[in-house]
Symmetry: C2
Subunit: 346 residues, 2 copies
Amino acid sequence: MEVMNKYISIKSHIDGVPEESDFELRTELLSVSLESGSNDVIVKNFYVSVDPYQINRMKKYSSSQEASSFAVAITPGQPIDAFGVGRVVASENPAFEKDDLVAGVTSWGDYSIVRGGNMLNKLDTMGFPLSYHLGPLAFSGLTAYGGFFEVCKPKKGEKVFVSSASGSVGNLVGQYAKLFGCYVVGCAGSQKKVELMKEKLGFDDAFNYKEETDLKSALKRYFPDGIDIYFDNVGAEMLEAAVANMNAFGRVAACGVISEYTDAGKRAAPSMLDVVYKRITIRGFLAADLMNVYADFISTTADHIRTGKLHVLEDISLGLESVPTAFIGLFRGDNVGKNMVKIADA
Amino acid sequence: MEVMNKYISIKSHIDGVPEESDFELRTELLSVSLESGSNDVIVKNFYVSVDPYQINRMKKYSSSQEASSFAVAITPGQPIDAFGVGRVVASENPAFEKDDLVAGVTSWGDYSIVRGGNMLNKLDTMGFPLSYHLGPLAFSGLTAYGGFFEVCKPKKGEKVFVSSASGSVGNLVGQYAKLFGCYVVGCAGSQKKVELMKEKLGFDDAFNYKEETDLKSALKRYFPDGIDIYFDNVGAEMLEAAVANMNAFGRVAACGVISEYTDAGKRAAPSMLDVVYKRITIRGFLAADLMNVYADFISTTADHIRTGKLHVLEDISLGLESVPTAFIGLFRGDNVGKNMVKIADA
């Protein structure tokens, strides 16, 4: 049996700001009969995640030998791996049966062949909407939870600054920090986002970085007693300004560098004198290294959502064709909350 | 009773590369009779330490309100605090008696008034020369030992890079790392220093950074399998190059930033993409925060020196008048090993 499958791919490597013309919608005839013993699984996608870090896998550099530490490179013309939620339509893997609801690494397509069933799991919705299993109950959530609690090691009452704070990870970091008992200020790139943070997410304060001419002074205003924890999603000038405003023994969780992803020449140059004298720790991390807190993360987060303490912020585009626009929008700051595309009804 | 005391001071704040003309030798009549109950102590200095970080305390910035995290500012015309070893000539402090041998914060002078006996300790030489108690058995040693073992958390066999590796701290870091079972490469600014590291200190390799046009490529040559630990004494381009060559879960101990101390515009801009993807930790530290390992540090280091496993590298200038030259020389890379000035015979 065969199905007509549509998927998004890149036409060639992308080394700057992504544009619609960098992407194409491809069509293939997909055989739904898998090789016996292959452990492969075919998934029909309902939702797929659209994340900024994927741009790094689209760069020419990512397929170079030097980039061994980067995630697997994306090959032009091929399907693009992405986190997704869907249903099994065929399985040669003993862990999955036809019609199982699954979450894991699928791809930007109607259907995904998941080789060996790698990084795919059966999904227990726990009564939550499917989309929650791409955001607060998936990697965005783990990144925020593990990044905040394990990497930042917060103490109650500490002053926390979050950049891209209305984004998929940032909004959760800010909410976790508030629930934990910290003072939280977020920044983002529009007044609408600032209001959302203050009114809906319960941040102590928030500001629009685009309206600030001097980020160092801005942070001094929002943190007259200094910053203890900076959850960094952007890098560049914001990291420099945060380090300049940091207290002794401050911690920076380096989660993302979105301002540098599309501009190879852009670099943060935090004062190393500050780093030494204020004994600052800057620590890069990936959610995949935080699986030790996964069980805690899921139970805590599910509880917070159920009791209404944690607000779920989603930005859902409709239809596979909207993936490139949703992706490009990330670098223009279009999204509010977890960015994803709904491919089909469950 | 009064003595004629000579001491070194700065004429005004120093904001660039220090020069002889920035310093002056001052003379004062010092009363050796202390106020009863003051807890003050007067020390006749035998050796005083001359360290790069002191330049930061001489900057105009250091006396500004913003610089609260910096060490206490040095005031023009006043004595300059420095670590020293000497003998008590007068004491109103119950912890010290006349003629006690002491080590701690004294000053660049023939005599030092140590107010309240703060940061002064009676010295047990353990049979070692007095000068050892300014270097490997004092803060340089603690910085190297604590910085390497506590901040870098090394594993045997890991690849360690040390900059300023023939300096007071760097040479000890490299030696501790070798004794612990790591692969160690150091860099310094002359061929003589390179030979010393390879032949006397037992480093696996060493190079002269002044002979390299591309530090990133140089480190790739010396670390074909990547760097696990970088003990950073210099900052700037070397930090960038080290981060670019770092392995996953690499650690940078940010100990000093000598290349930036005299050039406020100079900044390291390590790739934050590398920091995130390779989960690198950059951690600033000061020896004063590592007192928890002090007992271990002293016993281990004393043993290593006694058994000849740890080579003591000293650069001793003679006479109080030579302090400015010895200090200025630090920023030209003149010194090899622990830089100090012998003020008087014990």
